[in-house]
């Protein structure tokens, strides 16, 4: 259906190797969907992608208002794309509110496409515009293209009679916009057309109408001659290893990681959850599986969710729970029980801006200290963080592996940015995953003791109910080797030490740190979690221009990698960028006592921009 651009119209084909487009509209306009399809088309064409979706906390804020604006930004390119770009090259705004809210994200001189039909007095005033910006000089810094999207979509669909109501027809506007965006960046329509057929197989009229809208968008670009330039991605594509690929969001990857880890370990999977943004998709993905050995439980609250997981772990299942800040703190007491009885448990915290309800749909990295230290008593456990959407898979598998080997809860920190962000992922086979070794009873002992530890890991054996002759009692009270209650002070000291030592042993599982940029440089950036892409991108860029800067990224936040201390001592200056007020920074200062470890903090509910990191690096290097 989509031919090459018509020869008759003079349009300049401008080669590029990377671009960023932002699609914004009312939350009911389907811009997330349009963005996802744009991303899918790019991924299948061999491009690397990174996405950011920005949707309102209220699912249906009043139509046309600033609160109801939903946006989707995708950076796509032929080389490596570590992260989304700060500013978009093109902004597509479906109404005045979307324009107003998103215009700061468009770079100066960028392409601005708006649905001019929505710039009515009513919608303008809802967006807080006193005057129509399309008629003033307000947008003079951009290449403005007002397009009658509503009108054309209505016209092209009315004659087909596929959809009866105007309201239904208007719902196809996002596909018009998508078609136009695809033309502008020469994205293949084939994948989207196939997707529509699949998605609406039961409603062929909806599939048909959207296909027409999509094609009209493409045709508008191609045949009107309004746009002087189209963009063609050129350059050597980053060679992909042969194999099967897909796009994956962080939450999908986490759910798939749990299922895969359980399959690899040969254990049933039990997941207890309670709905909360932005973690719910993990439970929703798992709920789709009515497999005999996958159990998903929507509990009455977060406490019950983790309690049920502890029960399943006691019975011998790979047990997990996922939540976000407010739910994470509710789980604390049960996590402490799992620390005390020493049962394996994976706890995923998809962080959002806090404290309390905070900004439920905005990203932040501010639960680190809660994960590390936010429990009563001396309560050590393993904390890891995912660095990209697809990394959520690997980290969850790693968490499960460590949990059953060391008989401990493992907290996995993800965040809102990763949870909805998409990335291209090479689909692994079960054989590609690391071996999972379960902590078993020691051989050659004549008496079974539930807290007798494996001398190498210090893990206790996982002996489950149903095992004849091995009945025992465990609980949250301090105990001795037999599991029976002990209030002997010396025993408590010993057990407290052992629990800590066991977790410290997990350092043996951590591979050497990778350093990007200048390994003999003057400034080291240390990051964790979702800041990986942006930090690495900026550091590599500045290093190429000759700046003595390097970065490393932590997957394990507790215990810390053994080589981190040496690395820190090799650099005269260390900067820790975080989307919190300095939580890893505090931990690094506490562990390594170096005053030159400085922090860089942004808590605006969004990831860092390139500019923020770049400026900070230049500043620090200047100071030296």
């Amino acid at each position: 259906m989509n031919a090459l651009p018509a020869e008759s119209i003079d349009v300049i084909r401008q080669p590029i190797n990377k671009a960023t487009i932002r699609l914004a509209g009312d939350s009911g306009d389907g811009m997330q969907l349009a963005g996802e399809r744009f991303t899918a088309a790019s991924a299948i064409m061999g491009n690397e992608v990174a996405t950011l979706s920005n949707f309102p906390a209220e699912i249906r804020a009043p139509l046309g208002t600033l609160a109801g604006v939903s946006g989707f930004q995708v950076t796509f390119g032929v080389g490596r794309v570590h992260t989304i770009a700060d500013e978009a090259d093109t902004l597509l705004a479906m109404n005045p509110a979307a324009l107003r809210k998103n215009i700061p994200c468009l770079k100066k001189g960028g392409i601005l496409i708006v649905d001019e039909d929505t710039f009515t007095a009513d919608d303008l005033s809802k967006a807080g515009y006193a005057e129509n910006p399309l008629n003033t000089a307000a947008l003079k810094d951009y290449q403005l293209f007002p397009v009658p999207m509503t009108k054309i979509t209505r016209e092209s669909l009315k004659k087909t009679e596929l959809l009866k109501k105007e309201k239904e027809i208007d719902r196809c506007r996002n596909f018009f916009a998508l078609g136009l965006a695809c033309w502008l960046y020469q994205r293949d329509l084939k994948t989207t057309l196939q997707w529509l057929d699949r998605k609406f197989s039961r409603h062929p009229e909806v599939a048909g109408a959207n296909k027409i809208a999509l094609q009209s968008g493409w045709n508008y670009g191609e045949s009107t001659g309004v746009f002087p330039v189209i963009f063609v991605l050129e350059g050597a594509a980053a060679g992909r290893e042969p194999g099967f690929y897909r796009r994956v969001t962080g939450n999908e990857a986490a759910a798939l990681g749990l299922v895969s880890a359980a399959a690899k370990a040969g254990l049933p999977l039990y997941f207890g959850g309670y709905p909360i943004t932005p973690a719910s998709e993990i439970m929703q993905e798992l709920s789709k599986l009515a497999w005999p050995d996958v159990f998903t439980f929507q509990a009455e609250d977060e406490i019950a969710a983790v309690g049920a997981a502890v029960g399943a772990a006691y019975g011998g299942a790979l047990a997990a729970t996922a939540t976000s800040g407010p739910g994470f703190v509710l789980k604390t007491e049960f996590i402490n029980l799992a620390v005390m009885v020493e049962l394996p448990l994976v706890v995923i915290d998809v962080q959002r801006a806090g404290p309390s309800t905070g900004l439920p749909t905005k990203t932040e990295q501010s639960d680190l200290l809660a994960a590390l230290w936010g429990r009563s008593g001396d309560s050590p456990l393993v904390v890891m963080a995912a660095q990209s959407p697809k990394d959520c898979f690997d980290v969850v598998v790693e968490a499960a592996r460590v949990a059953v080997k060391y008989m401990t809860p493992v907290v996995v920190l993800s965040d809102n940015y990763l949870s909805t962000g998409t990335e291209i992922w090479r689909i692994p086979e079960l054989d590609d995953l690391p071996e999972i070794t379960i902590s078993r009873e020691l051989k050659g002992k004549d008496k079974f003791l539930p807290y007798e530890r494996n001398p190498e890991t210090l893990a206790r054996p996982w002996v489950v109910p149903g095992t004849a002759g091995k009945g025992h009692r465990v609980g949250g009270l301090e105990k001795d080797l037999t599991g029976m209650i002990s209030d002997d002070p010396k025993n408590h000291q010993k057990m407290t030490r052992l629990r800590a030592e066991k977790i410290n042993n997990v350092t043996k599982e951590i591979g050497p740190l990778t350093v990007h940029g200048d390994p003999a440089g003057k400034l080291l950036l240390i990051g964790w979690g979702s800041t990986y892409g942006i930090i690495r991108q900026v550091v590599e860029k500045l290093h190429k221009t000759g700046m003595p800067v390097a970065c490393t990224h932590l997957r394990y936040l507790h215990p810390l990698p053994e080589d981190l201390g040496d690395l820190i001592r090799r650099f005269p200056d260390v900067l820790v960028p975080e989307n919190n007020m300095g939580q890893l920074w505090l931990k690094l200062r506490a562990e390594f006592a170096k005053e030159y470890i400085r922090n860089l903090n942004v808590v605006e509910g969004r990831p860092f921009t390139e500019r923020e990191i770049e400026d900070a690096i230049i500043d620090r290097l200047k100071e030296k």
């Binding site: 994948t191 042969p242 099967f244 690929y245 039990y270 049920a308 029960g311 399943a312 004849a468 009692r473």
Partner: protein, 341 residues
């Protein structure tokens, strides 16, 4: 995690743990330990197949005194743990042990949801109408006016009726027993274990240290026959030392009547039917001294259990034999293949 089944133990003592219970001498929890182990022995449940999950409280120390599998969890939430355990391990006989504070105060939410899901769990609520472990504060089942360390001028909260709550939440088996009546305890525990679904048993037990005598009017052997009524399925509700009293309906309200007076005969009385929800609920509202306190099994109905409903879903949704379900899941609907590097 090998699981093999040894010979079932044959005597009640085989189920007892190695250490002596650390309850106050005379605590009503002792006879319950006898009742529970007697039921285990009568049913010949293999020891390793029993998992007792408790909360926090005097009563929740229970698992430590058994030679079965036991998990002493956190305050108020043993039912959640039992839920995950029973779902993944339907082969086990799972028993929740929880106090009145544990279940009805801090764990009230879990109590409600556990009842409505109907998991095949035996739920023993140890009700002593006081907080024992924390040394004597009013509990959600303390009678109005109870004087305690935290209700110095008398409790002004209305007490919760555990059975009413369990029934309205959907309990498919609900019973009440007294610590002083070992025979009934053993029988009811056996019935609870046999019942498929949630089996809720309220055990009225005496805290000699902080609420001594709270149960005297109903538990004392001499007063019991006049002040309590033992429910028997299919039989008219009759009580009293002379078996001369009964309960009949007057409009929508039950009333206590004397047989032979005003021409009242057994035919006028309510007949106990554990399948009748309304009757069970109505009986759960009766309390001494306004009426005799009903004991025994209030409700017992067969309904699909949580696991049965789950298995039914899994039967329909399970991957076909030989299907690479995991591979298909990982690939999702939108995958593609890259052939060359």
């Amino acid at each position: 995690m090998e699981q093999n089944t040894a010979q079932p133990p044959c005597s009640r003592k085989d189920y007892l743990g190695a250490i002596d219970p650390k309850w106050c001498p005379g605590c009503g929890a002792f006879p319950v330990l006898s009742g529970v182990t007697a039921a285990f022995a009568a049913l010949e449940i293999p020891k390793e197949k029993i998992a007792v999950v408790s909360g926090i409280g005097c009563s929740s120390r229970f698992p430590y005194y058994l030679d079965t599998f036991g998990l002493h969890t956190i305050h108020g939430r043993p039912a959640t743990v039992a839920m995950g355990l029973k779902t993944t391990r339907p082969d086990l006989s799972v028993w929740v042990v929880s106090g009145d504070g544990d279940s009805l105060s801090i764990g009230g939410n879990h109590f409600l949801h556990t009842m409505r899901r109907n998991p095949d769990i035996n739920y023993l609520l140890f009700n002593n109408q006081i907080y024992g472990l924390t040394k004597g504060q009013a509990s959600p089942t303390s009678a109005a006016g109870t004087i305690s360390k935290t209700s110095v001028y008398g409790s002004i909260d209305m007490p919760v009726q555990p059975l009413s709550l369990a029934l309205t939440a959907g309990a498919t088996f609900a019973a009440r027993v007294l610590d002083s009546d070992l025979t009934t305890m053993k029988e009811v525990f056996k019935q609870a274990e046999r019942h498929r679904g949630i089996s809720f048993v309220e055990i009225l037990f005496n805290c000699v240290t902080f609420a001594d005598g709270a149960l005297e009017a109903v538990a004392d052997k001499k007063k019991r026959s006049d002040n309590t009524v033992m429910l028997k399925a299919g039989e008219p509700i009759i009580f009293g030392r002379e078996s001369d009293k009964g309960i009949r309906m007057k409009g929508t309200t039950p009333e206590v009547v004397t047989l032979g007076q005003n021409g009242i005969s057994a035919a006028d009385l309510l007949v106990h039917d554990p399948a009748d929800f309304n009757l069970a609920f109505l009986l759960s509202r009766l309390h001494y001294p306004a009426a005799p306190l009903p004991l025994g099994i209030f409700r017992q109905v067969a309904q699909p259990t949580y696991n049965e409903r789950l298995i039914e879903q899994k039967r329909r949704g399970a991957p076909k034999p030989g299907e690479d379900a995991l591979g298909k899941l990982l690939r999702g609907p939108d995958f593609w293949e890259e052939k060359t590097g």
